[in-house]
């Protein structure tokens, strides 16, 4: 009778046992088994709430032994691990032949996606003003002569010469929204200079948001207007477009 009971018990054990998986982490360079010693953790959602938790996080005294710690544990890193993306659709801005007192423009579209945190800044700078062998197209100071790398101004006069840019937030259909750029450019008649690295100027923010963003875009218009006395030549420079998250 006793043997039958144990046999029945083992039978139940095999019939109803469940598969147990240890968590593993893989990369091309390493493989770690049992990477997370928590009891549970992660993101729970329903139609009305989102919750992240980490239960049973351990390793007390780690700082004393190892000399470092992640600032806020696994749970905080869960959100930090979200990716940050930046796209520029066209990198080659060829202005072709320039005609004095006729503004020549080129444009490209930048797109940014930030994690569920605090937004982003897009900064811009140039390695130097547009330069040919022996001469330079100066950075624009706009109609009023007062715009610079941190202040925009209306630039429509044909006798206001130089090189500058405008940025306007657009949606996925190309419709102007001014999202992210309204604090820097009132509309598409406003321009400003690029900060010149050669002149020790600091890259300046021209697009910014303080909320998470998904595929937020802006159209950047680059404009050159030269004077009749501008020396002939092939003028060139490099424009840095820099995306950083808000800390």
């Amino acid at each position: 009778m006793k043997n039958k009971f144990f046999f029945f018990l083992f039978l139940l054990l095999f019939l109803f046992s469940q598969k147990i998986n240890a968590q593993t982490f893989d990369s091309t360079n390493y493989h770690i088994e049992f990477g997370n010693f928590n009891m549970t953790g992660g993101r729970k959602t329903s139609t009305t709430y989102t919750l992240t938790d980490t239960v049973g996080q351990n390793a007390p005294g780690k700082y004393t032994n190892t000399g470092y710690t992640v600032k806020a544990g696994f749970q905080y890193i869960y959100d930090l691990s979200q990716p940050f993306s930046f796209k520029i659709d066209d990198l080659d801005l060829n202005f072709g032949a320039l005609v004095p007192q006729v503004g020549s423009t080129q444009s490209n579209i930048i797109t940014v996606t930030t994690p569920s945190a605090h937004g982003y800044d897009i900064l811009a700078s140039e390695n130097h003003p547009l330069t040919a062998k022996s001469s330079t197209i100066p950075d624009t100071t706009c109609n009023s002569g007062t715009c610079d790398q941190s202040t925009s101004g209306i630039w429509t006069n044909i006798d206001a010469y130089g090189f500058g840019f405008n940025a306007i937030g657009i949606n996925s259909s190309g419709v102007v929204t001014n999202v992210g750029t309204s604090n820097f450019f009132t509309d598409n008649t406003y321009y400003r200079q690029f900060a010149s690295v050669k002149d020790n100027e600091t890259p300046q923010v021209f697009m910014s948001e303080s909320q998470p963003a998904k595929d937020h875009s802006a159209k950047i218009t680059y404009k050159i207007n030269i004077s009749p006395g501008q020396s002939a030549g092939n003028y060139e420079n490099a424009i840095n477009l820099i995306a950083v998250p808000k800390y």
């Binding site: 990198l91 072709g96 320039l98 490099a238 840095n240 995306a243 950083v244 800390y247």
Partner: protein, 283 residues
Amino acid sequence: MFDITLSPYQIEFVLKPNITITQVYEVTNNSDQPITLNTEVLPFLPQGNNGSVTYTDISSNPNISFSLSNSNLVLGQPFTLPANSKQQLILKIKTSPTTKLSDYYSTFFVYQSSPMTENDSNFSQAIGKIGSHILLSVSDEENPKVDATVQKFMATPKIKDIFFTPINFTGQVQNNTNYFFKTSGKITITKNNQTVKELTLDSNNVLANYYRRLTCAQQSVCTLSPPLWPGAYTATLTFDENLKISPISTSFFVLPLSPIVFLALVALVITFIIKTKKSKPLL
């Protein structure tokens, strides 16, 4: 085309002097073309009160060194990332034994490394660059003490109607220590000692000896939306106990301005109608 994803977008460590840590980043080329990339680490300073940074001409701290631990990659040397592919970059961060106990802020950049193409035209070459912030606290303690003060906490407007515009709560936190911390707490709005609403603060990093504007979860500005009952309200800003920041309160008043104006208008119209009827001559 430049179409790059960088993960994680920020790392935060507390570490002792003379420690080496590594952080794995994943760089993804989302475009259909290979791209030549390069890497660099630049120190930054906070700018403004909303988490922006500036890369002014500040020199790197010689006591903190950065390098790549990948066998085939060197920090500052270009590498090619094939189309639609990923690359892990293993950043090694080392503090020297003489590192001053303080915070150090940098950005790990991945940028396009393309030589200027020769052109027989007027030409600008756009270069994409994407960064991930590194917040390091070099400390003997795992949880450096927090010493902070609240500045300019206020509700606007102070007097408002029961309908229409919301009440906004603004303020900033000044960090008086050499170590950053995260805000955590709430704004409790009460009327007659009854809680009307609680707004949860965003978890924002307040950098060492700097300030940060308060923001609320799910809102860009901490806001109490109408309609509201008339009366005197108090908004109290409290932080989690571990931050040891004293609570601070502000008050505002909600008045039934629009109903009063509406009733006055109705009374005027009725008075006008009655007067008009009375003044009509009897036929």
